[in-house]
């Protein structure tokens, strides 16, 4: 069983939901495909979608909704 990390492409604020009242893009344990959006990074008031970039059976988030993140920081890991 191999694991891959999904890293933040940008520094900023990481959001797991499309808007504060919406359901999260993904929950821990959900399957993902490479093109799936798993979150949004807000950098200087502009919003950038983060895609999984890899197919996997289960995703596990390493940061909470609305956490500050650095560029290159692991946001989640995916079981291939």
């Amino acid at each position: 069983m191999s694991k891959a990390e999904i890293k933040s492409p940008l520094p900023g604020m990481f959001y797991r939901r499309p808007s504060p009242d919406s359901a999260p893009f993904k929950n821990d344990g959900d399957a993902v495909s490479a093109a799936d959006v798993i979150g949004i990074v807000e950098v200087m008031k502009s919003f950038h979608e983060v895609t999984a970039g890899i197919d996997g059976k289960a995703i596990r988030f390493l940061v909470d909704d609305a956490d500050a993140v650095m560029a290159g920081q692991a946001l989640a890991e995916v079981e291939a």
Partner: protein
């Protein structure tokens, strides 16, 4: 003056600007900061600095309780809110006063009145200020709406009463368009803002954005002439001038007088800006809104009038009457302000926070750079991308542009992307030099001229 200390409830370049003005008046300065701003220039310059929480603005700079707790702990007499954040929050202004301090700005009631777009339009109309032809307030149904449209003509904007900042706007060019958009707009506004109320305004095509700087002390009201901010991208101002190029003298007089009439009608206290659309072809101007705070582009006005607007705000909050009468204020020369943002204009204006490696600032008579940068400073990703403002003053617009080109060539910021190349291209453009622009000019220009000058291969979103 009744105040001897002030807390700055903001960050970035405007916090630095307010500290400098406060120190010039001999006030003790207290800077609040989030964890992302502990090493900021404002924190270094202030007499005291107080931690108010995590980087996210809603947990720090927008947290009314945290800001008030800091103000009480530091025993300040006043709070300056800057722009953005809590600056136009009437509840905050009220809470500051309830806590026994002065809010550097107008009364909560004036903020509330002028902050409601439909009410502000009615206040303007009552003060004799021309408003964009349209409905007198909310329109209840499509029959009433269609009658208004028949009177004002197409194209029209259908706007959400609860919208703002460009959200909740639809444009209709024909009656069929209108009949299709109106019910959709109402449903969308109800979903997005919890209020399906709509109002209607005629679209003023190829308009310029002009705005009048006002000052009031509750009894006396003056204008400090106008600025033009037509060069905008996604409704964000990029380049501002004072005065507006090519505004006829008689139009300037009636425009500025209308802003003073509006200020007087609400007993305005503090600095404010009345924004208008101006139609070159008909020489008509129309009220848009009032901003009840200091604006980013206020230095352009300071350069042509010699006033210090932030010091004036602090003096007004300290109970002093205006230091100037209308006849003391006049226009000398021309000023241009370029907003320098941490964005890459060659990559769709992608924001680029990070560490500034070198900073070389141009110096000389009539050149000013308002900034929070220093070499080695790391620009955090959590706030807006404004790094600083280059403001240049010349004896006339042509001299100002020539000086601006030299100043831009002398401004060097490395380590992060900036919009300096965008301003260099604008300052060299023939249409800009001739003052041939309107509020839609810049976006077209970016897609055509700027994209071509950047080599074509690079994407300009």
């Amino acid at each position: 003056m009744t105040i001897s200390s002030v807390l700055i409830a903001n960050r970035g370049e405007i916090a630095v600007r307010i500290i400098r003005a406060a120190k010039a008046l001999g006030l003790r300065t207290v800077q609040v900061y989030s964890h992302a701003d502990a090493g900021s220039l404002a924190v270094q310059l202030a007499d005291e600095a107080i931690d108010i929480g995590p980087p996210a603005a809603k947990k720090s700079y927008l947290n009314i309780e945290a800001v008030l707790a800091a103000a009480r702990a530091a025993k300040v007499d006043a709070i300056h809110p800057g722009y953005g954040f809590l600056s136009e929050n009437a509840d905050f202004a009220e809470a500051v006063v309830a806590a026994g301090m002065k809010f550097v700005g107008p009364d909560a009631s004036a903020i509330r009145l002028l902050g409601d777009k439909v009410v502000a339009r009615q206040v303007a109309a009552r003060a004799g200020v021309p408003t964009v032809p349209g409905s007198d307030g909310r329109v209840s149904d499509i029959t009433e709406a269609a009658a208004i449209v028949a009177r004002i003509g197409f194209p029209v904007m259908i706007k959400a009463a609860a919208g703002g900042g460009g959200r909740g706007i639809r444009i209709a060019h024909t009656l069929e368009d209108f009949e299709r958009h109106f019910p959709q707009a109402s449903a969308e506004a109800a979903a997005a803002f919890g209020d399906g109320g709509l109002y209607i305004e005629k679209v003023i095509e190829k308009a310029r954005h002009v705005e009048v700087q006002i000052l009031g002390d509750g009894r006396n009201f003056v204008h400090c002439y106008e600025r033009e901010c037509s060069l905008q991208r996604r409704r964000q101002k990029v380049w501002e001038e004072a005065p507006a190029a090519g505004l006829p003298a008689d139009v300037r007089e009636s425009l500025c007088d209308s802003a003073v009439a509006l200020a007087r009608s609400v007993g305005y206290s503090g600095a404010g800006t009345v924004e208008y659309l101006y139609d070159d072809a008909s020489r008509d101007f129309y009220f848009i809104e009032v901003n009840t705070r200091i604006q980013v582009e206020h230095p352009a006005t300071e350069m042509i009038t010699g006033l210090d607007l932030v010091q004036e705000m602090l003096r007004i909050a300290g109970g002093q009457p205006l230091s100037v009468r209308q006849e003391d204020i006049s226009i000398a020369g021309h000023a241009i302000e370029c907003r320098i943002n941490a964005e890459d204009p060659h990559r769709g204006f992608m924001p680029g926070p990070g560490t500034v490696e070198t900073l070389v600032v141009p110096r000389g008579e009539g050149i000013r750079f308002d900034t929070m940068l220093f070499a080695g400073y790391t620009v955090p990703p959590f706030y807006d991308s404004l790094l600083g403002k280059l403001i240049v003053h010349g004896s006339d617009r042509a001299a100002c542009l020539a000086k601006l080109r030299t100043a831009l060539a002398g401004l060097r910021i490395t380590g992060i992307p900036t919009t300096v190349p965008l301003h260099q291209a604008l300052a060299a453009d023939a249409d800009v030099a001739a003052g041939r622009f309107h509020t839609r000019f810049l976006e077209d220009w970016l897609e055509t001229k700027f994209a071509a000058s950047a080599g074509g291969a690079r994407e300009v979103a």
